[in-house]
């Protein structure tokens, strides 16, 4: 399941559509064909974390129109698929799991509210993702709101900060 999902999401389905970013030194390739070192290393480990969310996401994509008690559209299955791709590409092995909720606009929202960070990814379809990031340790800084299509670098920065902050807390203890 891990190997199949990894191959279908990254190496075949999307590899021809998206150019690799130019700054390979600081940017891990996403959507494009992976380097051998990536395939053997972090991807396999992080898959364990995001894979546990597959049932939650699939369950949401079965929701029909009106699921929210009003007139919300059905949750798009391709929004669910893209949410899983985003998770697979950005989560680290020690990244905390997000809460996965349907959105009243027909998408899926991934939310983290911990480690003094609010991070939300609102996904309404393939390459349609809104990012909301707020750091409560720095209340003078306004929240960051961004729209993401195929470049996940801003999401990766947020996930990395969330993940590393947990490690710093653990080290402090």
């Amino acid at each position: 399941m891990v190997a199949d999902a990894d191959r279908s999401f990254t190496d075949e389905t999307y590899s021809g559509d998206v150019e690799e970013p130019g700054s390979a030194e600081i940017y891990r390739p996403r959507f494009g064909r992976k380097r051998a070192s990536d395939q053997a290393g972090s991807s396999a480990a992080s898959a364990l974390a995001w894979e546990s969310l597959v049932p939650n996401v699939l369950k949401l994509t079965s929701l029909k129109q009106g699921w929210d008690g009003y007139n919300a559209p059905a949750i798009r299955w391709d929004a669910g698929l893209f949410a899983l791709i985003v998770l697979q590409q950005t989560m680290r092995p020690d990244t905390p799991l997000p809460q996965v909720v349907p959105s009243s606009a027909g998408g899926i929202q991934l939310e983290w509210h911990e480690r003094n960070i609010d991070l939300e990814l609102h996904i309404t379809g393939p390459y349609e993702c809104e990012v909301w990031y707020e750091d409560h340790r720095d209340p003078d800084e306004p929240p960051i709101s961004d729209e993401v299509t195929n470049d996940f670098s801003s999401i990766q920065e947020c996930i990395d900060e969330l993940t590393s902050r947990g490690a710093r807390i653990a080290n402090a203890v």
Partner: protein, 125 residues
């Protein structure tokens, strides 16, 4: 179908009630509380009930939750929506719900958070 607009018939200080689906009550570990997800406020035509109209009909917030076991209920003011240039449009559903109202406009993350942050729990299941 006529285009309905914000005619100001619902005052800025009117409470607007929004049912919150159980999946939209999330754990906020930063503040140790359960709160509504901003995902509950994303609908471009967000359905709510206007409290003053419920009151005119001798009803209260419990009317909005009738038949919706397990749901919670949030309240924000019409003026809070208008602060973000959203339209508050009275849209009665006859004969069932004369208080039905739409908060119309694109809900960017900032706007959805604005509504969520300014909302209060009326009932948390």
């Amino acid at each position: 179908m006529p285009c309905k607009t914000d005619d100001g018939s619902i005052a800025d200080d009117a409470g607007l009630l929004r049912r919150i689906h159980p999946s939209h009550v999330v754990d906020d570990h930063n503040f140790g509380e359960r709160r509504a997800s901003s995902a509950a406020f994303k609908d471009p035509k967000l359905s709510v009930d206007a409290e003053p109209i419920l009151a005119e009909d001798g009803l209260d917030w419990s009317f909005t939750l009738e038949g919706y076991e397990g749901y919670s209920l949030a309240r924000f003011l019409a003026g809070v929506a208008r602060e973000k240039n959203l339209s508050v449009v009275h849209d009665p559903i006859r004969p069932d719900n004369r208080a039905h109202t739409l908060v119309v406009g694109k809900k960017t993350p900032a706007i959805a958070h604005h509504l969520r942050d300014r909302a209060e729990w009326v009932h948390l299941d």
